[in-house]
Amino acid sequence: MSEKEKLGLIEECMDLDEGTLKPEDNLADYEEWDSVTALSIIAMMDEQFHKSVSGGTLKDAKTVADILAMME
């Protein structure tokens, strides 16, 4: 999966328009980075990558790149 596609999945979880996110973006700068997004990311990781991501791991994520790293 390309980086663009991965960013697209994260944008979908955050209800953002396509092309909004860049890897270096700070998650805290987005008001969409909230509990609903956390659940959406956990579900997406499970569906797309068969990975179980804990709430704690997501809380520690600072940038979009940190989420991309979980998608490896």
């Binding site: 969409e32 609903v36 659940l39 959406s40 579900a43 179980s52 804990s54």
Partner: protein, 356 residues
């Protein structure tokens, strides 16, 4: 724990609803979040309105109202009752117990067994298990199982994480012996290491309620709550449900030769629409077989969720026909489990509304 029960049936379910309905849109102002965010929460989780008990009502009030309704309408007779089981996390007091309060207020005979079971989301499964086991010693007497909570009284109104989803419903279920009853498969699992994912920190003997525990504090998730309040770590609970529930069910079906395509309905605990959709997807269950509409109408009624799914969606059907059902619940404890059984031909299956 696994168990197989035989010759038992559920002969009736009554849901007792508080009359007060509160709408999510009217509560948005209580939360310190941008409105757009909160509306997204509503859409994803499927929130709309929820039922709330009045401040002056207790859980036993709902139980007594429900049992009196059944007694007065000839749905059950006092001399038929062998045991009263009350499952929930909202006892009126530490002492006396809920079952004894109901026993006294409904004027039940002295040989009726009274049991309280503190359980949350899996309360209906646990209550049924206890009922099935007791019925082996009850001959023609019946068990009256109450699933009753008024957790809205324990959740901060300024907590967007926890308040929108609470719903106060009490259910009264009659469980009895049935010589023709088919096999009932039961499984329950526990993970006490993660017990703090759902917690009311203060109010017990470990941390008695005080002025300090009632002090509202801004939590790091942007919500205001105090130590007397119930709090759920939503992300961890969701992760746990996704991880544990589908494999548990798949293994249960395999172990007991349950043919999944023969299951008519999946009657699940009702935390929110999002979680139920994800579960249905993982289990390859069509949405029309797995109801997800309790949260939008009542909120999440804790241990009363499964009987409320039944009375809300199948009130007519359950009195006429029989259906092969998979009941499943997951939550506080952490606890998760399932029951596969035939449900139907009930004497009654309905909801009533009260002034409580």
């Amino acid at each position: 724990m696994d168990a197989v029960f035989r010759n038992k049936r559920i002969s009736g379910i009554l849901a007792v609803l508080p009359e007060t309905e509160s709408y999510f849109d009217d509560e948005i102002g209580n939360y310190d979040f941008p409105e757009k965010q909160t509306k997204r929460l509503k859409k994803v989780m499927g929130f709309n309105k929820h039922r709330l008990a009045k401040d002056s009502s207790t859980a036993s009030d709902f139980c007594v109202e429900g049992l009196n309704y059944l007694l007065n309408n000839g749905k059950v007779r006092r001399e038929e009752i062998g045991a009263v089981i009350v499952v929930g996390l909202s006892p009126d007091y530490f002492l006396p117990q809920m079952s004894n309060i109901i026993h006294g207020k409904c004027d039940l005979p002295q040989d009726v067994l009274c049991i309280d079971m503190p359980q949350g989301c899996c309360g209906f499964l646990l209550g049924l298990m206890e009922s099935f086991m007791l019925l082996d010693y009850m001959k023609d007497k019946k068990v009256v199982l109450f699933n009753s909570d008024i957790l809205s009284h324990k959740v901060s109104k300024h907590d967007r994480n926890d308040f929108p989803l609470v719903g106060d419903v009490t259910t009264v279920t009659i469980v009895e012996n049935d010589p023709e009853g088919e096999e009932i498969i039961f499984r329950l699992m526990a993970d006490g290491a993660n017990r703090d994912c759902l917690k009311i920190p203060a109010g017990g003997f470990a941390m008695p309620s005080s002025a300090e525990t009632a002090e509202m504090v801004a939590a790091d998730d942007g919500n205001k709550r105090c130590l007397d309040n119930l709090h759920m770590n939503g992300a961890e609970v969701f992760n746990f449900v996704q991880r544990e529930v589908p494999p548990m069910l798949e293994d249960l079906f395999k172990s007991y030769g349950v043919e999944q395509e023969k299951i008519d309905y999946y009657l699940f605990h009702q935390p929110n629409k999002f979680m139920l959709q994800k579960l249905a997807d993982k289990l390859n269950v069509p949405y029309e077989k797995l109801f997800m509409n309790v949260v939008e109408n009542y909120g999440n009624p804790s241990g009363a969720s499964i009987p409320t799914v039944i009375t809300h969606n199948l009130k007519q059907e359950m009195t006429e026909k029989t259906y092969y059902c998979c009941l499943s619940a997951f939550g506080s404890g952490l606890t998760w489990g399932a029951i596969v059984m035939q449900l139907g031909k009930m004497d009654f299956c309905k909801e009533i509304e009260t002034k409580l």
